[in-house]
Symmetry: C2
Subunit: 79 residues, 2 copies
Amino acid sequence: MKARVHVMLKNGVLDPQGEAVRHALGQLGFDGVEGVRQGKVIELDLNETDAAKAEQTVTAMCEKLLANTVIESYSVEIA
Amino acid sequence: MKARVHVMLKNGVLDPQGEAVRHALGQLGFDGVEGVRQGKVIELDLNETDAAKAEQTVTAMCEKLLANTVIESYSVEIA
């Protein structure tokens, strides 16, 4: 079973990577970019066959390791 | 208009970040993780109101800046 986790900085937390991308896009001539946020995507390949259990496990992984919940939010998709 | 870009290392390209995550998950007691790949997600906030044009622009951004197409693949979602 495959799972995909998105980890993004929470709104209000300064995102220097995103700002750098926005600046670089402007310099390359891409106008009309109002904001850029950059985050991580983690694709997991799991043994688990039960979707509900897989989601529970992946949520625990996010809380313990994948996301810093003080400044980052995460979302889990099971496919 | 919002756009979301996923940039992942191509299959076959060594992913040390993903391997490190897999190892750390194992040490935390999460068994049954067969593979981990880590990539980037970039959320763009665009002035453009036409979805087709926005997709074209974002694809150009990927080719020029956001992805290293030698080793990375990307996908664009317009929302």
